[in-house]
């Protein structure tokens, strides 16, 4: 490249020379070479924003087994590609370093968290459900048949999937657990 051409490629020179100073004239070679990371994704997965109930469409960009970007889905008749500050931050929601990926356990009267294996935790929780249910079971309440336990309660569901809520309600009802609630009346 000749010196004149090299100098002539400088954005400031091009801007002074009359190219649109805020568009083409401002482009450097480095700018020209930059590619959006969305362009390099292995896969684009269609999803829905996890925050409020508007249900904005999301496109999840995945490369090498990691989420590289989450953007609004322009095809969505709900959102037309837009996301609010929360929806636009949802890549950080799934990738931020503070996310917990280990089971933690606090024993009664304990002062610190302890590590626990997932299988061990599941066994311990199942043991407690069985024990508490047996200890607090009511066949009757004041002479009326109730078939239930008031010893176990559950809260949550509005942030979960329909299929998850379904298994929760199904399992709890079969176990006689009636104190099942979520964010809908809070």
């Amino acid at each position: 490249m000749g010196v004149a051409k090299w100098i002539g490629a400088w954005p400031v020179v091009r801007q002074l020379a009359g190219e649109d100073p805020r568009r083409e004239g401002a482009r450097s070679r480095r700018t020209e070479e930059i590619r959006p990371r969305t362009g390099e994704a292995d896969e684009v997965v269609r999803s829905v924003c996890p925050y409020c109930a508007v249900g904005c469409g999301q496109l999840v960009y995945v490369k090498d087994g990691a989420v590289t970007q989450i953007e609004g889905d322009p095809d969505s008749p709900v959102s037309r590609g837009r996301l609010c500050p929360k929806g636009a931050a949802s890549k950080q929601l799934v990738t931020h370093p503070g996310r917990r990926t280990e089971v933690l356990y606090r024993r009664p009267y304990g002062t610190e968290w302890e590590r626990l294996g997932l299988d061990e935790a599941m066994d311990m929780i199942a043991d407690r459900v069985v024990r508490t249910r047996a200890e607090t079971w009511q066949d009757e309440d004041e002479g009326r048949k109730v078939r239930r336990t008031l010893g176990i309660a559950s809260l949550g569901g509005a942030t979960l999937d329909n299929e998850e809520n379904y298994l929760m309600k199904k399992f709890y009802s079969a176990a006689g657990i009636v104190q099942v609630e979520n964010q809908a009346r809070i």
Binding site: G65, R99, V103, T111, R144, K145, E181, Q183
Partner: protein, 861 residues
């Protein structure tokens, strides 16, 4: 709406661009107000007066949509002679029983209607059972289809005339006095609503928890329903009362309810008093006319989905396996049960009640009294860490070493690490595909609950106890791709339902009462029609869709799937006149096409496709056959929109203005100050601010910000969002700032009888003092997203700790939008001094020493 549902607000802006007038009624000036034609500031807790005055305006001016009102509502129906109104009884309806704190609703019924059966007397927290509100699901209670009617609307006891008398004192002058809204502002709203509600125009009302979180929350919505029915704005494009909900699938978790009082599809949970067998449940749970007349098909199909082969005709399809209710088992009642030691184990799944629920101290005392607690979330929320960093440790009310709760924290998969469907605020199911596996020990809740069910069943295998049969007989085998997590599509197919051939059903009308079909949630039947996941459909849709000059699609029918039957506007039969013609070309949606003998148009008709407008039911007809061709509200037993609710509500058949439980004012309308039927918890964990006390002189209302989500579990751990809104603040007017001696940006302490919290003062004209009942009232606005710790990057006092636990008696939601508070400059004291401060004010306030100077003023000198 622009703050909390900003992406949906683009459609309001779109409408405004096309000429729609946008009015924002809110105590605060927000981003919504900034983009509206008019902002109308209102005193929090006074909306029934505002809406009631609009009803009065419509009725007194003859502005109702008479043809719609006569044909489609119960305006013409005649009430019993012994019904007495709040106008007659100084704020009570007939049937009030002071001993039980509840109503006997029998006098509210239609003339000639059946006697409403009443449960045995209950009291206290169980008084809501008396009216039986949560027995009815969405079907509403039974009424006689052929009630006595006067279609001239002149009979003195017809609903129309009763309404006129009931709302006669809800005048613009009353709005000015009670709401603090000037006559001119109210007139502008009233004129706009009337001018935009007729054959060729509609008005929509949009609301959120600003209307629901009151001790009269259900009656707020009822008032809007009455107005919209009178104006003919229901079931029509551009009309309706639109709830904006706050969580991704809060609608789905109501339809498929993780709620105590419902079974999937708004079937009521059976109660111990009346539902001993399937026959008594079906006789009681909903009417025999309208689409709830098929409730046996919906219930039996659900029982088949849950108990499969074990559910047979000869054992009532395992109906006896369902546990029975005996009262309010909602989350606040549950917390009291924790404190009292009856509730020992607690699952908290994607929720943070230690920060997000009213009266946070009671929540934490409840958590500390448990045997075991399981928290599933993506980060450590305060509900998981209360034993280590909760505010009661600082005050000395709790000590880590003496909290016996065993806590399990299990990390959860994110929305991109699992497939599944959300149901959005417009009833639209949208499928999320899975992008990648969750990291480490993170698992979906589908995995967790399925695995838990397997492990519990393992432990009970071989049990001969009757109580274990429902778990052992439960259908719990789901196909799995990885051998671990059930296939979410298999679960969705079970929800959709299958026929005898195992294939997915197409519509809930295919469900059978004999056990030959199964469906986990009948209103979702069709979402998997043709064994194809309709919720995953993503056919783009661009506005406007016009082909050959005709609107080809007025909705986006091939994007996702909306319950029921992919209908986008409910009760849309009402978009056509009684003869089946659109009310106007401009507002047409569906119409009767005589040539083809079907309803057709731009949406799926919410009506039997081949039922003509002139159809008249035969004597003794049941289910949908009992509704005529002019009965658009097909889930109601009489097919009519209810201006007057003859039964189904526990606090009155009509809305009446009651002051919030905590209010600086008396009720100018009635001797009855607050909702007499409100649900109270009179316990030491839940002190109340006495009304009309100068100790707590200001109105406090809580709200959300664009940049945070609810109790912060999904926003405070994120640096982007934490930087945008780093700390709690209290919005106050310059006038209140001057009165309290606070400057913008300084610390301010807000105090109620529960606790005191500190925040930065945001002195702004967005909040302005209102003149109410002859004196100025100041309102304080506080966002509630912060908590003391957990994994949040930013911390702050939890505003919800200030709130009382006092509930709407119909649905048990708390009053968090209108309470009273004190406010003074500076940070709150720490440790035991905080308790002293709160206690001193409590003592000063009780019994309400009207006229005494507020305690904080003495302290400042």
């Amino acid at each position: 709406m622009a703050e909390c549902h900003p992406v949906a607000f683009q459609w309001v802006m779109e409408a405004r661009r096309r000429g729609t007038k946008v009015i924002h009624v809110d105590p605060r000036f927000t981003r919504t107000s900034a983009l509206a034609d008019r902002h109308v500031p209102i005193r929090a807790g006074a909306d029934i007066v505002f809406l009631g005055a609009l009803i009065h305006h419509v009725l007194s001016g003859g502005h109702d949509f008479r043809e719609y009102v006569v044909a489609y509502t119960n305006a013409a129906t005649i009430l019993r002679e012994d019904y007495a109104d709040t106008e007659d009884l100084d704020g009570l309806f007939s049937g009030w029983d002071p001993g039980e704190h509840g109503y006997d609703p029998k006098t509210w019924h239609y003339q000639g209607g059946p006697e409403t059966r009443r449960h045995p007397p209950e009291s206290g927290a169980r008084h809501a059972e008396v009216g039986g509100a949560h027995q009815y699901g969405s079907g509403g209670p039974v009424v006689h289809h052929h009630g006595e009617r006067d279609e001239t609307l002149e009979h003195p006891r017809c609903v129309y005339q009763v309404l006129k008398r009931h709302f006669a004192r809800y005048t613009p002058e009353l709005v000015e006095e009670v709401c603090g809204v000037p006559l001119e502002a109210f007139a502008e709203v009233a004129d706009a609503v009337v001018a935009n509600s007729r054959r060729d125009r509609t008005t929509a009302w949009v609301y959120s928890v600003g209307w629901t979180q009151h001790t009269v929350g259900v009656q707020y919505i009822r008032t809007a329903s009455i107005l919209q029915l009178l104006l003919g704005n229901m079931g029509r494009p551009g009309g309706g009362i639109l709830a904006l909900r706050g969580h991704a699938s809060i609608q789905g978790s109501t339809d498929i309810p993780t709620l105590f009082d419902l079974l999937p599809g708004y079937l009521p949970m059976p109660n111990a008093y009346d539902h001993g067998d399937i026959g008594s449940y079906l006789a009681d749970a909903a009417g025999t006319t309208g689409f709830w007349g098929n409730k046996r098909s919906y219930l039996v199909s659900l029982l088949k989905a849950w108990w499969g082969e074990a559910a047979r005709e000869d054992n009532e399809f395992c109906f006896e396996y369902l546990p029975r209710l005996t009262g309010d088992h909602g989350s606040y009642a549950t917390v009291m049960g924790q404190i009292d030691g009856t509730v020992k184990g607690y699952f908290v799944v994607g929720e943070n009640p230690a920060v997000g629920s009213s009266g946070g101290k009671a929540q934490r005392l409840g958590l500390a009294a448990l045997d075991w607690l399981v928290v599933r979330d993506m980060t450590l929320v305060e509900t998981a860490t209360f034993w280590k960093d909760g505010p009661e440790l600082e005050t000395g009310e709790l000590a880590t070493e003496s909290i016996g709760t065993e806590v399990f924290f299990l990390p959860a998969a994110s929305h991109v690490e699992k497939a599944g469907s959300f149901t959005n605020t417009q009833r639209l199911l949208q499928w999320r595909h899975k992008a990648l596996d969750p990291p480490g020990d993170c698992r979906s809740d589908l995995w967790f609950f399925h695995r838990l069910g397997l492990l519990v069943r393992d432990r009970l295998r071989g049990s001969t106890l009757q109580r274990d049969r429902p778990l052992l007989d439960l259908t719990w085998d789901y196909p799995s791709e990885d051998g671990e997590e059930p296939s979410p599509e298999a679960v969705l197919k079970e929800i959709n339902g299958t026929g005898p051939d195992g294939k997915a059903l197409s519509a809930y009308t295919e469900l059978q009462p004999d056990g030959s079909t199964s469906a986990g949630c009948w209103i979702y039947t069709g979402c998997y029609a043709g064994d194809s996941n309709r919720t995953a459909r993503r056919e783009p849709w661009r506005d406007p869709v016009v082909r050959d000059g005709e609107p080809a699609a007025m909705v986006a029918p091939d994007w996702g799937w909306a319950w029921p039957a992919n209908r986008r506007i409910l009760y849309n039969r009402a978009s056509a006149d009684p003869e089946g013609r659109p009310w106007s070309e401009r507002k047409r949606l569906i119409w009767w096409d005589a040539a083809s003998g079907t309803w057709s148009g731009g949406d799926v008709p919410d009506f039997e496709r081949r039922k003509p407008p002139d159809y008249t039911p035969a004597e003794g007809a049941t289910a949908q056959d009992a509704l005529s061709g002019v009965d658009p509200f097909i889930m109601q037993t009489d097919g009519k929109g209810w201006l007057f609710a003859p039964t189904g509500l526990v606090d009155g058949p009509l809305p009446a203005h009651y002051e919030p439980a905590e209010s600086p004012y008396p009720n100018p309308l009635y001797g009855q100050r607050a909702n007499p039927a409100r649900q109270r918890f009179e316990r030491p964990e839940n002190p109340a601010n006495p009304p009309e006390t100068p100790v707590y002189p200001y109105v406090l209302t809580t709200y959300r910000l664009t940049e945070h989500h609810t109790a912060g579990g999904m926003s405070r751990p994120l640096s982007y969002l934490s930087e945008l809104q780093p700390e709690p603040f209290a919005e106050i007017s310059p006038e209140l700032a001057a009165e309290a001696g606070v400057r913008n940006g300084e610390w301010v302490t807000v105090l109620t009888s529960r606790t005191a919290v500190e925040a930065r003062a945001l002195v702004t004209r967005r909040l302005r003092p209102l003149r109410v009942m002859g004196r100025v009232v100041h309102q304080v606005g506080m966002p509630y997203h912060w908590g003391w710790g957990g994994d949040g990057l930013v911390t702050g006092d939890a505003a919800n700790d200030l709130l009382p636990i006092v509930l709407d008696p119909n649905v048990h939601i708390q009053e968090s939008k209108a309470v009273t508070c004190a406010l003074f400059p500076g940070r709150r004291p720490r440790g035991a001094e905080l308790l002293d401060l709160v206690e001193r004010h409590r003592r000063a306030a009780a019994p309400a020493p009207i006229g005494d100077p507020p305690v904080w003023k003495e302290e400042r000198t």
